[in-house]
Symmetry: C2
Subunit: 356 residues, 2 copies
């Protein structure tokens, strides 16, 4: 079969270690399924600032543009936290999303059986929770004009939140499409009682909904959604929302599953191209110790196989292998009840490969 | 002692019923403590739309301006949900905040002992949770310019988020002052890695912090805060944030206590004037049945006594009475484990008055 080109951006902190295990999974997939991958690493985030003076070097972007998919570890760390905006890892993240046209961020929030006690929510409340947050990723207040000016009340800062119908429609259609493949329930989250962008958002959702008569649609105000996620997490299936609300709600949803160290994400544009990354961050405090959990990154590879390459057999093999290893009781430190029995990053990667 | 004038806005749904019980508490306070209140009711919200064609009639605003404090029930309901903005109850709420200069919304999120099982969080996680969200209430994206225009990508909507140093400083100082009266820990929530208004916010917080060397300050990104509230609610003391983030986080914080039906809130400006209201909404589904829980509104009166009038003795009497009635096992339907033993709105009000 044709060679798939994957740009690999390890990034900062534990990023390179967890991505290292994911690369072993790619190699094993080639052996087992006959698929062919060409991987190429590039600098991104803090390490790119250190070595190239910018979080998103042109050659990194060029590599991504010439690839079929991107696998990203994590970026950021205290070292760059007080840098000016242009020299911060996050700026690279925002830049790559915009430059690659990744307007849709897909964040499954699934409860792993073996981790259901790790949640701060009661198990009976969590029971059956399996939702996806679809977040708009290249618009809204993140990318609107920003400015400062002097006034009689001191400096004034301005951010602008902008959405047009086309931007809203493409993300909303994608959410409806995803809902059609699941339990056909969609919650659209906005603040239509206050924001003009939310009123436009809701108008578009109502219009698009006419094309999806089978999908049960509810409009939820963002403040109410923050509450309902806590009160009835299992009642949500697909949640679609704009960039800023999605940032907040997807993190809330991930945390309530108790499985944040295991969650993968996809950022998609038009077509099949996608960027895949674990939801957890760069965890600079444990970087380099060989104790980080590679599962979220390995599952991000499975997500890449499903959404970008259509390699459902290999995706299933990875997901089953992860389940088997967890069921056998193996744990990295972050998810171990008995920390003294925890295994390291490489050992976890090896076990998953062996189980494939 | 001098007569305190209180504007009473029952509003919609269960608003008038719960406010009715709070008025009984005011009367009882006069008998017991010798304080004097003059109360006057006015139309606000949906009922004002129905009777006067606007959610915030001029005579209601005039009454509030001529009063020492405002007691508000709740506004809104399905009847007005599809009205144009000018004829919606929420517009009245935004209007009254702006017109009365109520720039600060104080939302205690306390766990009531008798309700700790009502939370969806595990009791051991919730243990010791007692936090206050201080939300900026008259600025940010709520009140910035809004517009629409036609583009080649369809209609485009714009919201503007604006903050100046003076607006940030007054709310931040208030939060530091509140932290000084508590465990001296303040979490300032922003999105300084993306928003210019958040960067200004953080600069002001850092500058003001110099005047409060005893307060332990942390800066938390809003997405991280949504997670940390779930992971370690008890570690927060005072949280201060801008309008939109505060809307979301204060509701999340309220819900995680499990005590949402019991929580009161204050909206304050310069000086001692304040508007007090229960956190729960108008609950149109149970309105008029006499089964709503008046405790949050009664506790809002206690908050008014503390923050606007300095009547700490009477506030304490109310809070103790509520505790006594709950400890004796009396419950309205919303907080009853055995619903068949639930008592009604009036019975609950009477018990609290008797316990004072
Ligand atoms: C780092 C930050 C700019 C980013 C965001 O807000 O989008 C992050 O929180 C995320 O959700 O990927
Ligand atoms: C009704 C709405 C405009 C209001 C707000 O968003 O401020 C409400 O959610 C609140 O928190 O008081």
């Amino acid at each position: 079969s044709e060679v798939k080109k994957i740009a690999v951006l390890g990034g900062d902190g534990i990023g390179p270690e967890v991505v290292g295990e994911a690369l072993k999974v790619l190699k094993k997939t080639e052996e087992l399924f006959g698929y062919k991958f060409e991987t190429e690493q590039a600098l991104f985030g803090g390490i790119a600032i250190d070595e190239k003076g910018t979080p998103l070097p042109q050659e990194t972007l060029d590599l991504c543009l010439a690839s079929d998919a991107v696998l990203l570890g994590a970026v950021g760390g205290p070292k760059w936290d007080s840098n000016p905006a242009a020299l911060r890892p996050e700026t690279g993240l925002l830049g790559i999303r915009k430059a690659l046209g990744l307007f849709s961020n897909i964040r499954p929030a699934t409860v792993f059986d073996c981790l259901k006690d790790a949640s701060t929510l009661k198990p009976e409340v969590l029971e059956g929770t399996d939702l996806i947050v679809v977040r708009e990723l290249t618009g809204g207040i993140y990318f609107g004009e920003k400015s400062r000016r002097d006034t009689e009340n001191g400096q004034e800062a301005i951010d602008t939140c902008v959405y047009n119908e086309k931007e809203v429609e493409r993300i909303v259609r994608q959410a409806f499409d995803i809902a059609m493949t699941r339990s056909k329930r969609l919650a659209s989250v906005d603040k239509a009682n206050v924001l003009e962008t939310s009123r436009l958002w809701r108008e578009v959702v109502i219009r698009v909904a006419a094309d999806y008569p089978e999908v049960e649609l509810e409009h939820v105000l963002v403040d109410n959604c923050a509450m309902q996620l806590l009160r009835r997490p299992a009642s949500f299936d697909v949640i679609v929302t704009e960039n800023m609300f999605g940032d907040i709600l997807s993190d809330e949803a991930a945390m309530l599953t108790g499985s944040i160290g295991m969650l993968s994400s996809a950022s998609l544009g038009e077509g099949s191209f996608g960027l895949y990354e674990p939801v957890h961050g760069s965890a600079p405090d444990i970087a380099g110790q060989g104790i980080s959990n590679p599962i979220a990154t390995i599952l991000s590879v499975a997500l890449m196989f499903r959404l970008t390459f259509g390699y459902h057999d290999a995706a299933q093999a990875i997901e089953d292998a992860v389940k088997e290893v967890l069921d056998a009781g193996h744990r990295t430190g972050d998810i171990a009840v008995d920390k003294s029995k925890a295994i390291g990053t490489t050992a976890m990667g090896d076990l998953i490969i062996a189980a494939m």
